[in-house]
């Protein structure tokens, strides 16, 4: 369809220190209803948003990390994570929570939403978008 645009949500900030990560996710959830071609990018400190075992009771702030696991239900199935950003921070994919979606084109097979890609590939992803929203 000609009026489907490619939207990329770029997340470069850590969670909780500022509200950008949470309010970015709120846009993604609302935006999902518009049936555009949606993907999320996590680079720089944005990769920290996806870490496992976040436990926010001690700071009195809502833990929004489980919401990422619901994205598949909204047909948001591509979460690009930059490998170099992980490595620079001493993280591996194992430090990230598992986020799955059911692929309707493949007999609803469960597949991982997180796709770890290189910095060069991230630049390619960015360069093919129509709209880039940065948080």
């Amino acid at each position: 369809m000609s009026d489907v645009k490619k939207f990329l949500y770029v997340n470069r900030k850590a969670p909780y220190g500022t509200i950008y990560a949470l309010e970015s996710l709120e846009v993604v959830l609302i935006g999902a209803a518009f049936e555009q071609d949606v993907a999320l990018a996590f680079l720089d400190d944005g990769v920290f948003q996806l870490t496992k075992s976040q436990e926010t009771d001690g700071i009195g702030v809502k833990n929004f990390s489980p919401t990422f696991r619901a994205l598949g239900d909204y047909d948001v199935t591509r979460l690009y994570v930059e490998r170099e950003s992980l490595e620079e921070r001493g993280l591996t994919e194992d430090d990230l929570q598992e986020i799955m979606y059911e692929d309707e084109d493949d007999d609803w097979a469960e597949k991982p939403s997180i796709r770890v890609i290189s910095r060069a590939e991230m630049a390619d992803v960015m360069a093919e978008q129509d709209v880039i929203l940065s948080f």
Binding site: D44, R119, M126, A127, D130, I132, S134
Partner: protein
Amino acid sequence: MSTLHTVNKSPYMTQSLVSCLNHCKDGDAVLMIEDGIYGGLAGGQMAPIVEEMGKKVSLYVLMPDMAARGVDSSRLLEGIEGVDYTGFVELVAKHDRTQAWL
């Protein structure tokens, strides 16, 4: 198809400019605005990095933001072009998309 990247933070305080330059494609443009204009300063510690990383892109700086901060255009790295807000709008129109490195 090309992108206009905007950077509004000083490279002496944050990683935004370096991260931006790390993700530029040939033919992209980078416009430094607000505190980002310090990325255009010749003679500073970041200058060689910006010069080297910026080779494949066109570098611009917003002149009203430079003037506000007392940076004369004679202090800019060679090859950086100054634009006003009208030039900013032209850059937005000329490139296919705009990406802000906040």
